[in-house]
Amino acid sequence: MTNNPVKIVMVEDDHGHAKLIEKNIRRANIANEIAHFDDGGSALDYLFSPEVRANGPLLILLDLNLPDMSGTDILAKVKGDERLRRAPVVVLTTTDDKVEIQRCYDLGCNVYITKPVDYESFAGAIRQLGLFLSVMQSPDID
């Protein structure tokens, strides 16, 4: 964690949400690098590029409603990869359908958070996620 800090990969098509998430993570004093992708394809390209697979611990923040594919597809691919599957995945989405939640956990998602419309609780959740990240031990991918 010291010389190879956790990199946050955020897959979120809504730029507003992405910005809000980032702001609130920063407000929680988390300075880790955040790589933002607004569609599933480019996120997968990045995740499965040799240097990412070879380097550093990752934490993936994943939205489920993406324009080109469902977040669950990305989740399935990540958790199906023998190296990437060690990376914790936090699903952060508007959907609070219990079937969807079950499906994500079945696919190996580590945390599932619903984006509340109430901003205060949303900001609170993100900040807590930030606190969580600051103490969490992320496994090295290699």
Partner: protein, 510 residues
């Protein structure tokens, strides 16, 4: 009873007027029966006639025999008398005496037997007269012989009167016999004719009946063939109907599923921008506060630099705008959540179980005890019939209705809410929730079941969801809901459910 009989007769007349295979077969059967009756009667009369003819034949034979007997006895008497006259021996008289004894009876019998035929009767009487004359002649001679006047007696014989009479007698008897023989032949012919006719009539009737039976058979066979075809057609139609119903039901439940999914997706997609609106409103508020602080600092340091308009904008306009944005967004969020909830209700799996409705409603009534006692109201739950349905849905339906009844009581009078119910024909149960509250005006009776619509004074909290949920749930349970209400008097919500909830095959999705 009277009318039923007349109805049956009317139906029978209608049946007779209408062309149908049944009618044809019935008519054929009736014809066959009548024919059989005719044949029976004919045969009966024929047999009677044959018996008559036979009796006549016997009769003729008797007449002939009797006539011959008469002749035989006369000859016997004659022979006997002559033997006596020749020999004088009394023992030769035995036959004569017997003939004299029997002859009158036989002659009378002959006359009696021919009474049916005047011609023959006249002849018989002539024969009797001749025979009696002949006997008288014999008697005369016999009397003379007995008196010892044998010569006189022989003279009488010799005179030939007796022989003449005998010749006449023979002629008469011969004629009588010939006549009777003719009669006999005629009667035998007649009898044979009758027998032959009987055979012909029977044969013809048999043939006719065979034809009728064949016709009946052909008609019935054709009819049964048609019936079988019709049955096959009906079966085919039924099968295709079932298939159609299955297809329609499938399409319907798919459409329903799609609507639910649509509502669900819409509400989620509507939520995403709302997160931004709320989030950035908060960010703006934060920014406004930062600017306000900055302005305050500038105000204290260099008051002449601060424009009054800018201060108003930062301290009043911006917070006010943010307040409105926030209130609207919150409302929008509630509405979206309502749609989401409604769509979720529709996707919930139903599990039918037998529900003690009296207990269930009493429990709901107890849960609003606090509100009812506050409103000086009472909830009366009657003995309700049980129902086999989904517990959660039924609880929500009755919970909503009772809640509403309590919520919209008229505070000017003591509240009374009653829950009643009964089983009705055809496997249905009806319940009703009645209150003496504010009531709902006629024009709102349909509107209140629509999403986000409310009626009357808007002095109670609510989003206009309850009754929309209720109607949605009632429909999912295969039931209906109606309202009867008068403004200012109270309302009655009538619910009708199938006694046993049967799930469509499309209901098993989650």
């Amino acid at each position: 009873m009277e009318s039923r009989t007349s109805r049956r007769w009317a139906a029978f007349r209608q049946f007779l007027r209408t062309r149908s295979p049944y009618r044809t077969v019935l008519l054929l059967a009736t014809a066959a029966t009548l024919l059989l009756l005719v044949v029976n009667l004919t045969t009966f009369f024929m047999i009677q006639r044959i018996a008559d003819d036979n009796a006549q034949v016997d009769h003729t034979q008797e007449v002939r025999t009797t006539a011959r007997e008469v002749l035989a006895w006369l000859l016997d008497a004659e022979t006997s008398q002559r033997s006596f006259l020749l020999t004088g021996r009394a023992d030769y008289l035995t036959n004569y005496e017997r003939a004299a004894e029997i002859l009158p009876e036989r002659l009378n019998a002959l006359v009696g037997l021919t009474l049916d035929n005047p011609e023959q009767n006249a002849r018989a009487e002539t024969i009797r007269d001749l025979a009696e004359d002949r006997v008288a002649v014999l008697e005369t001679a016999m009397d003379m012989a007995r008196a010892g006047r044998n010569a006189d007696a022989l003279a009488v014989v010799r005179r030939g009167q007796g022989s003449e009479l005998m010749v006449q007698l023979r002629d008469e008897i011969s004629v009588l016999d010939t006549q009777e023989r003719n009669l006999l032949r005629r009667r035998t012919d007649q009898s044979e004719d009758t027998s032959r006719s009987t055979v012909y009539i029977n044969a013809a009737a048999g043939l006719l009946m065979l034809i009728l039976a064949t016709m009946s058979f052909i008609i019935l066979r054709r009819f049964i063939g048609e019936l079988a075809e019709a049955r096959d057609e009906v079966a085919a139609a039924n099968a295709s109907l079932e298939q159609k119903v299955k297809e329609r039901t499938g399409a319907l439940s798919r459409a329903n599923e799609e609507i639910q999914r649509f509502a669900y997706i819409v509400s989620h997609d509507l939520r995403a921008p709302l997160v931004n609106v709320m989030g950035y409103t908060s960010e703006l508020e934060q920014a406004g506060k930062t600017i306000d602080l900055q302005m305050a600092k500038v105000e204290t340091a260099q008051p002449d630099l601060v424009e009054q308009d800018a201060l108003v904008a930062v301290r009043e306009d911006v917070p006010e705008a943010i307040g409105f944005i926030r209130a609207s967004t919150e409302k929008m969020d509630r509405l979206i959540n309502a749609i989401l909830k409604l769509s979720r209700e529709g996707r919930k799996t139903l599990t039918p179980e037998t529900l003690d409705m009296t207990g269930l409603c009493q429990k709901i009534a107890d849960s609003v005890q606090h509100q009812t006692s506050e409103a000086d109201a009472e909830i009366q739950v009657a003995d309700l019939p049980t129902i086999e349905s989904d517990r959660l849905a039924i609880e929500q339906i009755f919970g909503n209705l009772i809640d509403n009844a309590v919520k919209y009581l008229d505070r000017d009078r003591p509240g009374l809410i009653t829950v009643g119910g009964r089983e009705t024909a055809g496997g249905w149960v009806e319940y009703e929730v009645t209150d003496n509250g504010r009531g709902i005006s006629d024009r709102d009776h349909e509107r209140i079941f629509e999403l986000f619509r409310r009626s009357g004074r808007q002095d109670r909290p609510g989003e206009g969801l309850g009754l929309a949920f209720v109607r949605n749930s009632v429909r999912r349970l295969g039931g209906t809901i109606d309202i009867e209400s008068e403004l200012g008097k109270g309302s009655t919500f009538r619910l009708k459910f199938p006694k046993r909830l049967v799930l469509a095959s499309g209901e098993e999705f989650q």
